[in-house]
Symmetry: C2
Subunit: 115 residues, 2 copies
């Protein structure tokens, strides 16, 4: 999120938004919830994100300590991303949000909450 207007706010919601308040960040965290993934795998999992935006999203998440990036000196290159401890601590919230959605935004199947 932009040039840190929210980062040093005294409201915790503002600060949270500074870290995960963009279109793609929660989705990337969700993708990494149970596995390490390579750049290309994340890109394939979220097919509508562009490489450029995925790159910048990953960089920001890394610099905020949410994910870790490990580069293997191979050819062709291999880079793996995974949640850090801090990122994992955010996971219950992200997962609850996905669950909330399943319970509230699926008009078709309102009674099937165990998918």
């Amino acid at each position: 999120m932009k040039k840190d207007v929210f980062r040093y706010s005294d409201c915790p919601m503002h600060r949270s938004m500074a870290v995960i308040g963009t279109k793609w960040k929660p989705i990337v965290i969700y993708v990494l919830r149970e596995r390490t993934a390579r750049f290309g795998q994340i890109h394939a999992a979220i097919d509508s994100i562009s490489k450029k935006v995925l790159t910048s999203t990953l960089k920001e998440l890394e610099s905020d300590g949410i994910i870790e990036r490990k580069e293997y000196k191979e050819l062709p290159p291999r880079v793996e991303y995974k949640l850090s401890e801090k990122g994992k601590s955010l996971l219950p919230i992200i997962i609850q949000l996905a669950k909330w959605d399943k319970e509230h935004n699926c008009p078709e199947k309102e009674s099937l909450q165990n998918a």
Copy 2:
């Protein structure tokens, strides 16, 4: 969030983001967590939001059934906003996020997690 690209996705995180994935929405929900508030009060609570953006944020939250708007036919006008049941069901997540922030993004006071 824009023209509903995410709204009918089959990924629950995409759909959640369609409903609350903007800069201001989680903050507005947080402000309404324990009280009904008037437009001017919300505006005062989030002093960096403009009236225009607050108006559109409130409208979107209302049309997604997260908040309820009640207009009193008085002069000067009075309009009250509060969380709907659906909005209240989202609240634990928002509050957890604020709590997460307090625990992880306050480098100064790392051991004071009970503020």
